[in-house]
């Protein structure tokens, strides 16, 4: 099976200058893993069409955390309503500040194994899929969708299964 067979197409792209509020809207308007509404991550494309980063739900949430929390173990200290407040404050922040770079990508015609390996090694649960010429983003592949296919095989179902 190829990455192409599992990738989700039709998601929106983000621009580095967009706000996080706009990004959240784009997440909602894009398809997620098979059967889910709402993307878990979207590629960030600059005006020249080059992919400059990826914004995931995890990346967006971790950008809400104040930086000092990563400098000392002060995470146990918070107050009622802190997370909600941080979310409101982050509304106007730019996508470029929250996105992850460099982006790990996978080619559409790569074997499924390559996609899986890239996710595990880089600790991400989705990858942007690019076409073979030029690296244009054609879709996203999600860990959850790979899991579904492989889980079927474990249960002895699905294509090529050996009971």
């Amino acid at each position: 099976m190829k990455v192409r067979d599992l990738m989700i197409v039709g998601g929106e792209h983000l621009a580095p200058g967009q706000t996080l509020a706009e990004a959240v809207t784009a997440f909602g308007a894009s398809p997620g893993p098979k059967g889910c509404r709402g993307a878990d991550a979207l590629p960030v494309i600059d005006e020249r069409g080059a992919m400059v980063g990826i914004l995931s739900v995890g990346g967006l949430l971790s950008s809400l955390l104040p930086r000092y929390m990563s400098l000392a173990p002060v995470g146990d200290f918070s107050w009622e309503g802190m997370a909600e407040e941080l979310a409101v404050k982050a509304r106007g922040r730019r996508v470029s500040e929250a996105m992850a770079t460099p982006v790990v990508i996978v080619h559409a015609d790569a074997p499924l194994m390559t996609g899986l390996e890239h996710m595990i090694v880089n600790g991400v649960s989705q990858l942007p899929v690019v076409d073979d010429d030029g690296g244009r983003v054609v879709g996203m592949i999600y860990e959850r969708d790979i899991f579904k296919v492989l889980a079927e095989l474990m249960l002895g179902k699905g294509p090529g299964a050996q009971p």
Partner: protein
């Protein structure tokens, strides 16, 4: 070759080579074009390659080479902190302090300043600022007040507090080693003035920020709702660490009487804590030592050793004596203010590395018949050492680049989205520096010249 002052002078070429390496090295360090550690190591290599110092002199001769007392004191204290840090002790202290301030923004600022100063007297300033600042940022967030006064005050207070003891700030460690002064010498001579300076500092920040920091009643409850006990991650290791720290402190207090160098005390404490902590991975604790800083010291000692050997420092010390005409009060005052302004611009570590041998040379010329501690501890020389220490440590407050702690808080502010411009730091730092050095000047004049006690 003309022998002078007991030093064999090198040939003209070596003199200029050593001077060129020294000057070029300092220019590069100030310009920040190349990382200071690389400059220092490269300079040291050049000093050896040019034959200005033999390797034996650089490694084994106290007068010209690496001061291993400084190096091992620094390394040992860094390892001790690396072991204590994960216990959560510092977060505990910081949260506790914030609650002691009952959520009042200025009270908290003042308490943080005192806590930072006290911690800095025993720990490296950068470490203190790195440990306390995250909690001050959290508190500022909770109270919805500008975090910048808390960050700037953290750096200023840590530079002031660090001046109080032998182990508080690298310049003091270097001066103590060169002048063979003990921990208690620093406690007797610098701690009193630093307590006064700290009192003045608290008054100054009250004027500076007292009215500006305001918060709402309900936000104060956020601070009071924090539970500092949650900070303690490893109570058993914390108890062990505190016991060892107490032992180390006792060791420092008595090192003079027991005839142990401070580095011996620190190394023993470090070894004991490593043993008792039950760590199976000393590699990580040792790897976290700030090796960049350590090699910066090593390189600097060798570069400065080069200019000491070729006679540049001796030449400069003659100039200083000519300038002050042997008036020791004048020398102390010049030393204090010159050190303060120099340290506000240049890193105080290379500055003190250069001034240390200069003061020794100056003493040799003033009292040619004396040697050893009789020379180093000449009653008329002591105020000069204290002036150097006070000027070099307190001067660091003058600008955003004057001390490593300042550079750290500016970096932390930037990362947290509240920029501290060079001008904003200067507007707080420079008046504070002038005030603290002025207080020190009065102290030196009063204690060593007017009352002569």
């Amino acid at each position: 070759m003309t022998p002078a002052g007991g030093l064999a002078h090198a040939s003209g070429t070596l003199f200029w080579e050593a001077t060129a390496i020294f000057v070029l090295g300092y220019v590069l360090i100030i310009s920040e074009k190349v990382h200071k550690t690389i400059v220092a190591v490269a300079g040291a290599a050049l000093v050896l390659l040019c034959g200005i110092l033999e390797q034996r002199e650089a490694f084994h001769v106290e007068e010209f080479g690496v001061d291993w007392n400084v190096i091992f004191l620094l390394i040992s204290m860094m390892v001790i902190i690396n072991i204590i840090r994960p216990t959560g002790l510092f977060e505990y202290i910081a949260i506790r302090s914030a609650k002691l301030g009952r959520g009042e923004p200025f009270r908290i600022l003042a308490i943080f300043a005192v806590v930072t100063a006290v911690l800095s007297a025993f720990l490296d300033n950068v470490t203190t600022v790195l440990l306390i600042s995250p909690v001050t940022l959290l508190v500022a967030d909770a109270l919805e007040v500008d975090p910048v006064p808390y960050l700037i005050s953290g750096a200023l207070a840590s530079n002031i507090g660090g001046t109080a003891t032998l182990i508080g700030d690298p310049p003091n460690i270097m001066i103590a080693s060169k002048a063979q002064l003990t921990f208690m010498d620093f406690v007797n001579h610098l701690t009193p003035v630093i307590i006064i300076v700290m009192g003045c500092y608290l008054l100054a920040i009250r004027l500076l920020w007292g009215r500006k920091l305001k918060t709402r009643e309900e936000l104060k409850q956020r601070i009071m709702g924090l539970d500092e006990r949650e900070a303690i991650k490893d109570p058993a290791l914390l108890r062990t660490s505190l016991a060892v720290l107490a032992l180390v402190l006792v060791g420092f207090i008595f090192h003079g009487t027991l005839h142990f160098e401070p580095a011996t005390v620190a190394l023993a404490g470090c070894a004991l804590l490593l043993l008792l902590s039950g760590t199976r991975d000393p590699h990580r604790l040792l790897a976290d030592v700030e090796w960049g800083t350590i090699f910066f010291f090593i390189g600097l000692f060798i570069i400065v050793g080069g200019v000491v050997k070729v006679g540049l420092i001796e030449m400069l010390s003659r100039q200083v004596i000519a300038l002050t005409q042997g008036n020791m009060l004048g020398t102390s005052m010049v030393m204090l203010w010159f050190s303060a302004f120099a340290s506000a611009i240049v890193d105080n570590i290379p500055y003190v590395a250069t001034m240390n041998p200069l003061v020794v040379d100056m003493a040799k010329q003033l009292w040619p018949d004396l040697s050893g501690t009789a020379l180093l501890h000449h009653p008329q020389l002591m105020p000069v050492w204290w002036s150097l220490a006070l000027g070099a440590c307190l001067g660091g407050n003058g600008t955003a680049i004057g001390a490593s702690a300042n550079v750290i808080v500016v970096g932390l502010a930037q990362k947290n989205g509240s920029k501290i411009s060079f001008g904003r730091f200067l507007a707080c730092g420079l008046p504070i520096m002038l005030m603290t050095v002025f207080v020190s000047m009065i102290y030196i004049w009063l204690r060593y010249y007017l009352l002569a006690v």
